[in-house]
Amino acid sequence: MSLWNNYGMNRRHFMQHMATAAATIPAMNFLSHVQANADVVKANQKSCILMWMGGGPPTIDIWDLKPESKNGGEFKPIDTAASGVQISEHMPETAKMFQDLSLVRSMSTREADHGRGRYYMQTAYVPNPTVVHPTFGSVVSYELGKNRTALEIPAFVSVDGGAGQAGFLGMTHAPFVVDNTGRIRNAPTEEGKIRLADRLTMLAEIESSFMASRRGELPGAHKDVYRNAVNLMTSKQMTAFDAAKAEASLGLEAESEATKEAYGKNGFGQGLLMARRLVQVGVPFVEVNMGGWDLHAGVFDTLKNQRLPQLDKGIAAITADLKQRGMLDNTVLVWMGEFGRTPRINQDVGRDHWAASWSVMMGGGGLKNGQAVGATDKDGLQIADGSKAYLPGDIWATVAMAMGIPVNTVHTSKRGRPMKLANGGTPIQELIG
């Protein structure tokens, strides 16, 4: 554990020591000494990569095609590596990886408004004005972050995101949002870090009285976020954000041009590559955002020419890369948006919001992959007879189980109300075997 981690535990003491130390020993040596103390990350840590499809992807054109129906649209299904599972012809590379991927084709989630749908899918709870539920990445950060003592960067990183809230679990579990270039804005220079130590000493002294005044949780939360920020910017794990850099002690290489190409030279592809590096250093939850799915008009052209080629490349690359590195069994992949899109094609050749019957993709994580769970009816309008309908809580309960988080975990809201993990969802039997 690096010295900086003490910041929160024994702050005043530590910071005073720090200020003196910085003044008496040569600055650069001091910091490199701190950094050399970082532990090597343990193997077998579980992680989750959420691929978030903002806007609501038309899963009827990607994962659950209806070629016989008037709702079927322009695309044809193709076979995948999983027997009996077919997906869109515009997902050929992903199709090859389907022994390690699965579909849940019977999502039925009722929220068809972007804000509400996002909240529901990411927290498993419907919005409620009196409580802010934690997005699932925050739950993972809360549950697993504390045991990752070697982790100096936030346990929940969101690439190109920003909607998730930690709610009653507290600001320290909020997503750390970065853009897909991995550039961390306002990171200090090396000299800046030395000066910062003095300044933080001053800060600790100055804000203690306000913290002690009776003003609720915000003043303390502010301190916690500062501690996380300091941990982050003094950590060599920062290397994980920058694909061009190597850090031998963390097993990180500078990514080759070929690797970057394989993931796709676009925001989603490079975001996934960063996700893999973050998982390598022990981050338990990474969200990678891909937008542009709100296809009320011209759905087929946009899918065929823009969205699906990027999506296909990215999913295939991350799956293959994790597998080749022996990381796939420990990394759950989840692909979802806030809802699916109307089976009926509208007058603008688009599809509108649809939550009644749609698909989520999962993979890796030691799940029983290579299958499609659940089904929709022949026109995609509802869940097929005899097929079980799934809620977001069921997806997250499955993820929790794969990550070793007890499914019967209960958190407590600020008001003292018990809040079941994943809203009491049940792991999907077919996937956990």
Partner: protein, 569 residues
């Protein structure tokens, strides 16, 4: 050190009430601060002297105080003590002007011994250019977001609101102008609201959803697809509202760039398009339905000659079954929430029978008064700021610690809830704290452009038909990194000639005096004796012995990074 921080005796409600009707100097827009500011101060001071008359029985402020007190009694809690002048001045500047007070402004107020000084300050600030700037920012963000939606002119939208707030236009007129606006997006800035809601071809669905939410406080968007699960709103209501917006057309013009020979974006405008008869929508069952333009029971002629938005604008100000119009209630709720951090409903834009207000009588009475005043925004603000609740401290006590809406409890307003500074407030406050506002900030649009550019690092757009976005400026690591290491904070802590630190350090004065100035500039309060000695000890420690200026710089940095600075209390 405590002499100037004694609590000023509250002078409400007696002097407040009668002042509501008085005319306040109209602020003429002028980015050069200072002189304008002082003139306004004079105007309102003299106006205030004329207004020393006895309180009216049953005044609105008394009513609010009495209702809230009843809530405290019923819930067996005791309100916090009144806020000190130091706490209050910071709060009122941030809430009205969107920034902290300058060192001079804080000093002037704290040294003033008049029992009426809070009242005078409110009037001064309401006449201040920064009041206009602050509410222009808030409503521009509400209307078009913080990001940069395509083919929308932020400048145009700001210009509309700036004029509206500077000329003290009544709220109903502002709303009607917005919902009925047509024309070029810079010539009639009001159209930008509509343009921002028309990012995708959706038959005005987003425009309908946003208009009802923002201006009427009604969330009917769920009824687009199905009947509301908890109240009387039916699916047809959404489409009836929507049918008012079907004559709206967005036209994006392009022009030839003579340098490149390519077509590039020119202006956009809102125009009228022919539309008559019903709109069609689909029930969940797949059955097609029709909806005609109808608002709260009033039917509008669906013929081709009707300008539906004009009719909608007229209906917005009609009372509903003897109740104040939605636009009045929605604004009151928002304004209350602006000052207290919580409105009477949660969320503030979801009002209706399914979501009862925490204080229905207050909401009703304030809305009635708002309508009776001719939708006078400043009068609404004066009323809210004059309440006992707004003047309370932010520290809770043993008897009101349960009054904690952050934990999901219904707000009782027995202490002032902490609010986090918005990004714009932070930016403007850092500028003020570092004196940058005095060393040539440039014109209004230059400043606005700089702030907007800075702001973009915290905006995440979601690229969907709701045009929604989120900001990463909510107490997150990116915010902390910005506060610790950015160019903005470096400038605030600069020791170059003309900077606040340079000026303070060059002035004669003892070390404790300088420390005090730094506290006043950053936190609008005097340091306590023990704080001064603690700081002195640090400044005289090894690391600063050779360079005292570095010590002051670090002190100012720490004050600006403290929780006390970033929170509104």
């Amino acid at each position: 050190m405590q002499s100037t921080s004694e609590k000023t005796k509250l002078i409400r409600p007696s002097n407040w009430v009668v002042c509501f009707g008085m005319t306040v100097a109209v602020c003429s827009w002028n980015p050069a601060a200072g002189a304008e500011n002082k003139a306004a101060e004079k105007t309102s001071s003299s106006a205030a002297t004329d207004a020393e008359k006895p309180a009216t029985e049953g005044s609105i402020v008394e009513f609010i105080d009495q209702q809230l007190r009843q809530g405290w009694v019923d819930n067996e809690i005791q309100p916090s003590e009144a806020a000190t002048d130091e706490e209050w001045i910071r709060r009122i500047y941030l809430d009205l002007c969107g920034r902290i007070p300058t060192l001079e402004e804080a000093n002037g107020f704290l040294k003033d011994e008049s029992p009426r000084k809070r009242f005078v300050l409110i009037e001064t600030l309401l006449a201040h250019e920064d009041y206009v700037r602050n509410f222009t920012t808030i409503w521009t963000n509400n209307s078009i977001g913080r990001g940069a939606p395509r083919r929308v002119s932020r400048t145009g939208m700001e210009k509309f609101y700036r004029e509206a707030f500077a000329k003290e236009r009544p709220w109903n007129e502002i709303v009607v102008d917005i919902v009925t606006a047509s024309g070029h997006y810079e010539e009639n800035g009001a159209v930008n609201y509509t343009l921002a809601q028309m990012q995708m071809p959706d038959d005005g669905v987003q425009l309908t959803a946003m208009t009802t939410r923002l201006f009427l406080g009604l969330q009917v968007q769920c009824t687009q697809c199905h009947n509301h699960p908890f109240n009387k709103w039916q699916q047809d209501q959404f489409w009836e509202y929507n049918s008012f917006f079907r004559q709206v057309r967005k036209e994006d013009h392009r022009k030839l760039d003579p340098n490149t020979g390519r077509m590039v974006d020119d202006y956009s405008e809102v125009t009228w398009q022919d539309f008559s008869g019903p709109v069609y929508y689909e029930k969940r069952s797949g059955v097609m339905q029709v909806a005609f333009p109808r608002f709260e029971g009033h039917e509008v002629d669906p013929g081709a000659d009707t300008d539906r938005r004009i009719e909608f604008g007229k209906l917005l100000t009609e009372s509903i079954d003897g109740q104040p119009p939605h636009i009045a209630q929605a604004m009151v709720n928002r304004m209350w929430s602006h000052f207290f951090g919580y409105g009477f409903t949660r969320p503030v834009d979801d009002m209706g029978p399914h979501n009862p207000a925490s204080h229905p009588e207050l909401l009703l009475r304030l809305s009635q008064e708002f309508v009776a005043s001719g939708y006078n925004i400043k009068q609404l603000i004066r009323t809210i700021c004059a309440t006992e609740a707004y003047g309370l401290g932010s520290q809770f006590n043993d008897k009101n610690k349960t009054d904690d809406p952050a934990a999901g409890e219904m707000p009782l307003f027995s202490h002032l809830y902490l609010k986090s500074m918005q990004a714009e407030q932070m930016y403007d406050s850092l500028i003020v704290a570092s004196n940058a506002h005095q060393s040539g900030r440039g014109g209004w649009s230059a400043q606005e452009e700089q702030r907007q550019k800075w702001m973009q690092q915290f905006v995440v757009a979601f690229e969907n038909d709701e045009n929604d976005e989120s900001t990463t400026f909510n107490g997150t690591i990116p915010q902390a990194l910005m506060m610790m290491n950015s160019e903005l904070i470096d400038k605030a802590c600069s020791i170059e000639r003309g900077s606040f630190l340079f000026e303070t350090m060059s002035k004669p004065g003892s070390e404790p005096q300088k420390i005090q100035d730094l506290y006043l500039a950053a936190l609008s309060r005097h340091p306590t004796r023990s704080e001064i000695s603690k700081v002195q000890k640090m400044l005289n420690a090894n690391s600063y012995r050779t360079n005292k200026l570095n010590g002051y710089q670090d002190l100012f940095w720490a004050l600006l990074n403290s929780n006390e600075f970033v929170l509104i209390h």
